[in-house]
């Protein structure tokens, strides 16, 4: 574990080399710098996991950056079970996606730039998960947001892409503002920003009340909700979910890495890491659970009617993130992190398969223009199918174990909203299965609905893209087997592993209840698949008729409940109006320009008047001299001095 510093700093080195020398020297060999770096990080991460499983943890400060009175900020690393799992997730997905990008980004002009930003992102994400204090966490947080902006707007000459990049960054900013204030309150309360000190003292403040902006609030609730603001922004929960679908403008590897597996899960990581604070506040837990559940349902309904391949998967991501928050909100932090871990694999796989399809279809995204691709792209088809089984929660696949754990603990846990969110979660499971298989059937089955041009070019993707798909598929299917619950005869190793950090949420219920809940969720998944099969394979004309009959509902869902339009009218247009008319019109033009132009003009005018003293006539100068003498004499005589 002594080599743990290699994990974040190798990608940083790869970023620096690529960004400095990429344009001139490396060009399309840039991957030879980035991939070994991130692969070695992966190896060290696996070794670290082995050591953590053996029981070793580490909390070390490397370099003190700020030391001011009580306030100390340093670069420090904490390696415990939660970090170890996150390291595996980040480095595995990052390495595989780096390899995938060789094929996907082949021939692109900014090839070196892409790899340098991927390495920078990996560095920031690793700093985020390995931090041992809030300031470093915030640094990593902002860093991944920045890289997200760079990578979403990678095709910067396309206006929609650069707009999407801006949107992601700005919407994140709203969340990060609350997060920042949360860190301030933490410092004010605990006097430190180090996790170990904060969490150790948290219990002492369990009942403290605090005066915030004139309101008397429960301190732990306040802190938890402020921290959750950051999570809402970063993990695209309501109401800050609007950036994630637009982020699909970026290249598909970016969508896979950042907006599926790693960056968006940072919000869940935050809540899990801060579980001592969250557990002390019932209100915050309820807020988290309900936000997660509502977002989950909301996004799933939108995903039902979308036609854009990547957008369906994006809404699926929002929905699954809602699941993770649902879990954390009912106290099942371990289940939430478990779902994070399995979701990373199958969601990244779904995105990469989508990229493979786009690669074959020449960039086409509309699933209604695809069809019967399974005979042209067998590997892609099989891996995507397995990933979809996983996300639908079919028993035996990774997604089943994590989703089932969440639903059982929601139902049987101590949370007051447990049953409600369980019901919503089960409904979402049904919808998830439905839209995932709608996508599969429309894309891979049936008859080809695209143009002849596209049909000629249909081919399986190159090896550099296929091999990561297959490797991820192993994860998507088998990653869950470390967490097989006791009920099914497994050892629940994952839960045991995470117990020291995340606590253990026990479900209070009988075995019969547990079996029933499991059965209901499996039933929901299977019926979703069945309905999709019915509607898209057996009766393909049915969707069209339903769209016409429920056209209003369809329109609302298709337009994402008009949330973007609402924000535009409520927030964006007034802000732009204020900027144009008040800030530019008044304060810039009238006040600042007045000062900036006025002061020199005043000085000029003053000096114009002042130069009239120099008349060129000796008598005037003599009179001035005499007057000067008189003034001094007067001062001295009248003893004013």
């Amino acid at each position: 574990m002594e080599y743990y510093l290699l994990i974040p700093f190798l990608p940083l080195a790869a970023f620096l080399i690529n960004i400095l020398f990429g344009k001139a020297f490396l060009k399309d060999k840039a991957h030879w710098v980035a991939i070994p770096a991130v692969a070695v990080s992966w190896v060290v991460a696996v070794m670290t996991l082995m050591e953590v499983i053996g029981g070793r943890t580490l909390n070390q400060n490397i370099y003190t950056w700020i030391l001011s009175g009580n306030f100390r900020v340093s670069v420090g690393f904490l390696i415990d079970p939660l970090t170890a799992i996150m390291l595996i997730v980040v480095t595995t997905c990052s390495t595989l996606i780096h390899i995938y990008s060789i094929g996907y980004m082949h021939g692109d002009n900014g090839y070196y730039r892409f790899f340098s930003y991927l390495s920078l992102f990996t560095f920031c994400m690793l700093m985020l998960v390995m931090a041992n204090n809030f300031m470093q966490l915030y640094f990593g947080w902002e860093g991944v947001g920045l890289c997200s902006y760079f990578l979403i707007g990678y095709y910067f000459d396309k206006k929609s892409a650069s707009d999407a990049g801006k949107k992601a960054f700005i919407v994140n900013r709203f969340g990060d503002f609350g997060f920042g204030i949360g860190i301030f309150v933490i410092f004010l309360t605990f006097g430190t920003t180090y996790y170990d000190q904060v969490f150790a003292q948290a219990g002492a403040f369990a009942a403290t009340r605090y005066s915030f902006l004139g309101f008397d609030v429960h301190l732990m609730t306040l802190i938890a909700l402020l921290l959750f603001c950051g999570s809402i922004g970063k993990s695209a929960q309501m109401p800050l979910h609007v950036w994630l679908p637009d982020a699909m403008e970026g290249p598909t590897p970016v969508s896979a890495l950042i907006h599926a597996a790693t960056m968006v899960t940072a919000g869940v990581f935050l809540v899990a890491r801060c579980n001592p604070i969250f557990s002390l506040s019932e209100t915050a837990m309820i807020v988290v659970a309900l936000t997660g559940a509502i977002t989950s349902l909301f996004a799933a309904t939108i995903g039902l009617v979308q036609n854009d391949l990547k957008r369906i998967i994006a809404y699926s991501t929002v929905s699954q993130l809602g699941y993770m928050f649902l879990a954390c909100g009912v106290g099942a932090y371990t289940a939430g992190v478990f779902h994070l871990y399995t979701h990373a694999f199958f969601k990244a796989l779904l995105f990469l398969c989508a990229g493979s399809v786009m690669h074959a279809m020449g960039g086409e995204l509309n699933i209604h223009k695809m069809g019967s691709l399974k005979k042209y792209m067998p590997v892609t088809y099989v891996t995507m199918l397995l990933a979809s089984f996983s996300i639908a929660g079919i028993p035996g696949f990774a997604g089943f174990f994590s989703k089932d754990e969440i639903l059982w603990l929601a139902y049987s846990g101590a949370s007051p909203v447990g049953k409600i969110v369980w019901a919503m979660g089960t409904l979402v499971a049904f919808l998830t299965a439905f839209y995932s298989f709608r996508l599969i059937f429309l894309t891979f089955h049936g008859s080809f609905r695209g143009t002849h041009e596209q049909e000629h070019h249909l081919h399986e993707s190159p090896k550099s893209m296929i091999i990561p798909l297959m490797l991820l598929c192993i994860g998507a299917v088998g990653a869950g087997w470390v967490g097989i619950p006791h009920l099914l005869g497994g050892g629940a190793h994952f839960t045991e592993f995470m117990k020291p950090v995340l606590g253990h949420a026990e479900g209070h219920g009988t075995h019969i209840e547990e079996w029933t809940v499991m059965g209901i969720s499996v039933l929901a998944g299977l019926s979703g698949i069945g309905l999709a099969y019915f509607m898209y394979m057996l009766r393909p004309e049915l969707p069209g008729k339903l769209t016409q009959q429920f056209s209003t509902v369809h329109r609302i869902l298709f337009n994402k409940y008009y949330v973007d339009e609402l924000y535009s009218a409520l927030i964006i247009r007034p802000t732009i109006w204020v900027a144009k008319n008040v800030l530019i019109g008044v304060s810039d033009a009238r006040i600042i320009e007045a000062i900036v132009n006025g002061v020199p003009a005043a000085i000029g005018g003053f000096s114009q008047q002042l130069r009239r003293i120099q008349t060129g006539r000796i008598h005037n100068y003599a009179v001035f001299m005499a007057m000067g003498f008189l003034i001094i004499a007067a001062i001295m005589l009248l003893r004013v001095w």
Partner: protein, 173 residues
């Protein structure tokens, strides 16, 4: 007759003031120079009154004899015909009057707080015994030799400067 010193002083003071006023108010510059000559003689006798016969001699020789002659030369050199018709004073002469009156008032007011220093050892009797010139010479060539040499340098510069400034430009052949 112990009022005699005061009477003498009164005459000289009045003469000095009247003559200085005349100097500055004449239209004809030559008249101004003449009145100044008379003024300098009165000042010289004032010095005699104050037991400084060497200074009186110098006043007459240098001031009246050299400087004023120089002034007269220049006045006669600049052939000023229209001087008698034009205005003597500038337009804003009341301001100048005010300022100079204020200067006099401030100087007079400063006199109220005059504190004399320690008396030296060149009593009147001593100076009369070894003559003023010898006394001055004794100090000048011992204690104040350096300023004396510098004064001679200043005079040298004046000689050179006056020649350079006043000579006509040479046409280059």
């Amino acid at each position: 007759m112990n009022m005699l010193p005061q009477l003498f002083f009164g005459y000289f003071a009045a003469a000095l003031i009247v003559m200085s006023l005349l100097v500055i108010t004449r239209k004809n510059p030559v008249h101004s120079v003449m009145w100044m000559l008379l003024l300098f003689f009165h000042i010289a006798s004032m010095y005699l009154f104050l037991n400084a016969e060497f200074i009186a001699a110098i006043q007459v020789i240098v001031y009246a004899g050299a400087i004023l002659v120089l002034f007269l030369f220049v006045v006669l050199l600049l052939n000023l015909k229209d001087e008698l018709e034009t205005d003597r004073f500038i337009g804003s002469w009341p301001a100048g009057l005010l300022v100079s009156a204020a200067i006099f008032v401030s100087l007079a007011a400063a006199l109220q707080s005059l504190v004399l220093g320690q008396k030296g050892n060149f009593t009147v009797a001593l100076v009369q015994k070894i003559t003023h010139t010898k006394a001055l010479g004794q100090i000048l060539y011992t204690e104040y030799l350096f300023p004396f040499e510098i004064a001679s340098l200043i005079l040298l510069i004046a000689v050179i400067g006056a020649i350079v400034l006043a000579k006509k430009r040479m046409r280059s052949h």
